[in-house]
């Protein structure tokens, strides 16, 4: 049997068929007339910039949000998805970027949690163990059912997430940025798993913004931009340059020709920084680095290996406990602790990795988020009271300069798209012309 037979392909309805999906959050049109078809037994990539509407679309498909309008057809049948339960019943499984696992449960317990066969736990366990065994063999997903989930490496935890979905009868799998937390080796393993899933007839949707992965594993790719679906391509017939251009909406230079940087004086010097967590485990172990004027220093590593802690120390969120930090000639160590505000005064800007948890307060209006870290500056205060007009003016100016849309300082921060939230954060930090950022 060949799939390429057009007659046969037409007979078989697509696994997922989204028609004219619309979703608004206040004034933001997050999904605008989105159409999407995912064929049975294919790996379908969805790419787009931050705030393009990928996550919203997947949340609609998985029942976190309800679409304002539009139709969802699963295997040719129209379904209403109001909660994730409906999605699971329709055979959709989702693997989130941040895993939804109970660390103190075994793999088996995690897999069966919420899908127990009967009220007797012992009976359910026996059945679940058999089923888990079968799934592991069929899809080549080896994992010890009795291992404590929290002890497993990230790659295996992700495998547990996939098994969880399959256990609930999923034949459509959504993976949200699955490689973000994986080492390159683990990512390769994931791709071979996806390959097996595809050969067993499972449809996989892969949400990512890494073009390399799209080209490596997917059959089809859909591109989203500003809430709309701008293109569908057969992966074999497209390339990096075209996809990048479709994502951004203009020509993108993937190779930059530039002269080597001419770094100047050392602005920031970190010596032997060590951070221990509550269990006295070193999260950051004897790290030293130098940042000179006019240079960009990249720090690579899989998340969870200390970048967060390093950044927290460098930006003053976490006090320096061990080691020392020299910023523009000011020495910071355990005896001289500075907070985030003090570091901003030393011309260190900090655009947080997670703007929802750190970089802004989603419940604040944009003008309030725009002065975070600068709330005590004289220019925003008149005596005891804040200077509302000055704050609004400041926010409007940031919005104009950095093209934040919509340019309304009174709008709630949560109602901006991810990309525009990011622009506002960057605007806030850059506007001070910090020396280190």
């Amino acid at each position: 049997m060949t799939i390429s037979n057009p007659q046969q392909a037409a007979d078989q309805p697509p696994a997922i068929d989204l028609r004219k999906i619309n979703k608004r959050f206040g004034p933001v049109h997050a999904n605008r007339d989105v159409d999407l078809q995912v064929g049975r037994g294919t790996v379908h990539g969805i790419i787009g910039e931050n705030g393009a509407g990928k996550s919203t679309l997947m949340s609609i498909l998985y029942g976190f949000y309800e679409a304002d309008s539009g139709e969802i057809l699963i295997n040719g049948k129209a379904v209403k998805i109001r909660a994730s339960k409906d999605a699971i019943n329709a055979g959709i499984g989702m693997v989130h970027q941040h895993f939804m696992l109970v660390d103190t449960f075994t793999v088996l317990e995690n897999v069966m949690l919420g899908a127990e066969a009967s009220s007797s736990l012992r009976h359910s366990m026996v059945d679940a163990r058999k089923e888990l065994q079968r799934l592991s063999e069929e899809y080549g997903l080896a994992v010890d059912p009795d291992a404590m989930t929290g002890d497993l490496p990230v790659g295996l935890q992700q495998r547990v997430e996939i098994l969880k979905a399959l256990y609930r009868g999923a034949d459509i799998l959504i993976l949200d940025e699955p490689t973000g937390v994986l080492t390159p080796q683990e990512a390769d393993q994931l791709f071979s798993i996806l390959d097996t899933l595809r050969s067993r007839g499972v449809s996989v949707m892969l949400i990512t913004h890494k073009l390399q992965e799209i080209l490596a594993i997917t059959d089809h790719v859909s591109v989203m931009r500003a809430g709309t679906m701008v293109a569908d391509r057969v992966t074999a017939e497209t390339n990096k340059e075209e996809l990048a251009e479709l994502m951004v909406g203009r020509k993108v230079l993937l190779h930059v020709d530039k002269a080597p940087a001419q770094p100047g004086d050392v602005l920031l010097q970190a010596d032997n920084l060590t951070v221990r967590d509550a269990d006295a485990v070193a999260r950051l172990d004897d790290v030293s680095l130098q940042l000179r004027a006019g240079e960009i220093v990249g720090i690579a590593g899989v998340s969870g290996n200390g970048q967060t802690e390093l950044l927290e120390v460098l930006s003053g969120i976490r006090p320096v406990e061990d080691g020392k930090l020299n910023v523009n000639g000011t020495l910071i160590d355990a005896a001289n602790v500075l907070d985030a505000k003090d570091l901003r005064h030393l011309s260190v800007g900090h655009v947080a990795e997670d703007r929802h948890r750190l970089g802004m307060v989603t419940a604040f209006s944009a003008r309030e988020s725009a002065i975070m870290g600068f709330q005590d500056e004289p220019e925003f205060n008149r005596g005891l009271l804040t200077d509302g007009a000055a704050i609004t003016r400041h926010c409007q100016q940031l919005m104009d300069e950095f093209d934040v849309r919509p340019g309304n300082p009174d709008l709630k921060s949560a109602n901006f798209s991810g990309g525009n939230q990011q622009k506002l954060c960057i605007a806030r930090e850059m506007e001070r012309q910090p020396k280190c950022c």
Partner: protein, 379 residues
């Protein structure tokens, strides 16, 4: 998680109104069960609370207490803290007010004594809130547990002090001596009489003006100062507050102290106003009612004033009700008050998802109609 937004008039107008109606419907059922007419009961309550001068005076006198405790709960709530220790903080605040009055009441006139009394009350209330706040911020003890425990400690402490230390010599009842003229606040009927306007006598005193002033100050603090900005940021997102260089522990302690000081102002209304002495259990549940007031008033001073008047009316109207209709006892009035607290406080958001859906459907059909019109216009 909800990303849907409702316009303000539904959120702060319609939803509380529906909640009150629900509470009254259930109350009506209870009254019918004991064989009385709900309509008559409502009439008696409304007349009792708003129908004549003395009733209005009592309603506003109760409301004064609720404004103070409501503001106290609101300030802590903005910092993400659930202060249910308003009862104890008000009790101790009253002790502070009482002590300074007992010391100075034969020396100073009331208007000179008042600032000292406010300061002493605020200090005692803040100190009583400081301990749970410190334990929360620096030791991780949950503030709900500690503040409720501190209510009991406050109660025991006051019984001890009133029975053994502060009791008027020779008196049988555990209360201090009556305060001299110098420490008693003018009643509102006296203030009005000074302007030649005659109103009926009631315990309503100038504390009401202090309460309204506190509303303005809290409004300014929370929304128009950098400290309020810090308090709200901690309430919404503590990590973001650290990112912004805010000392979260210190801010938590300060907002709890402000909260305790606000609750303590009940002491001004009761000790210097209505009772003119310190006596047992003078707070009479105002600290707990403040929680419902703040929830219902959405932690905003204007909402708190409105909710305080409602609860003041329930207290006063309820008292009249048990007086007028003999089968409706004091306990049944407490049931009615409880139902209002249940629907307006604990179940405040019960109807929100339903209303959101209805509203969404309405706006969508409106948007669709406009789209159609636009398309027709184009073609």
């Amino acid at each position: 998680m909800s990303n849907r937004t409702l316009p303000a008039w539904i959120d702060i107008g319609l939803i509380p109104l529906i909640n009150i109606c629900l509470a009254f419907i259930v109350s009506a059922g209870v009254i019918m069960l004991i064989g009385e007419s709900p309509l008559e009961a409502v009439q008696v309550m409304l007349f009792g609370a708003f129908g004549y001068g003395e009733g209005i005076g009592y309603t506003l006198y109760y409301a004064t207490n609720f404004i103070f405790t409501g503001l106290a709960v609101a300030v802590a709530f903005h910092a993400g803290l659930f202060n249910i220790g308003g009862e104890g903080q008000a009790y101790l605040g009253g002790l502070g007010v009482g002590l300074i009055c007992l010391m100075l009441d034969s020396w100073l006139p009331w208007w000179a004594l008042l600032p000292f009394a406010i300061a002493a009350g605020a200090l005692f209330g803040a100190a009583w809130a400081y301990i749970p706040a410190y334990l929360q911020a620096y030791r991780g003890s949950h503030i709900v547990i500690t503040t409720i425990m501190f209510n009991f400690i406050a109660s025991a402490l006051m019984v001890y002090l009133l029975v053994n230390v502060l009791i008027e010599p020779g008196s049988m009842s555990p209360q201090t001596r009556s305060l001299a003229e110098g420490a008693t606040l003018p009643y509102m009927y006296q203030v009005f009489a000074a302007f030649g306007i005659e109103i009926e006598q009631s315990p309503l005193n100038v504390s009401l003006i202090l309460a309204l002033l506190a509303c303005v100050l809290v409004w300014l603090l929370i929304w128009h100062t950098r400290w309020g900005y810090a308090i709200r940021m901690i309430g919404f997102n503590e990590k973001a507050a650290v990112y912004s260089g805010i000392n979260t522990r210190r801010t938590i302690v300060i907002s709890m102290c402000i909260s305790g000081a606000l609750a303590a102002m009940v002491g001004i209304n009761e000790v210097m106003g209505a009772q003119q002495r310190v006596l047992l259990e003078f707070v009479a549940g105002a600290g707990f009612t403040g929680i419902a007031v703040s929830l219902m008033g959405r932690n905003h001073p204007l909402g708190i004033i409105a909710a305080s008047i409602l609860f003041g009316a329930l207290y006063q109207g309820g008292a009249e009700l048990s007086f007028e209709i003999s089968t409706i006892t004091r306990d049944l009035v407490v049931v009615i008050q409880g139902l209002v607290i249940l629907f307006c406080g604990a179940l405040a958001y019960m109807l929100k998802p339903t209303l959101e859906k209805l509203f969404l459907r309405y706006t969508l059909s409106k948007a669709a109609r406009q789209d159609n019109l636009a398309e027709e216009a184009q073609s």
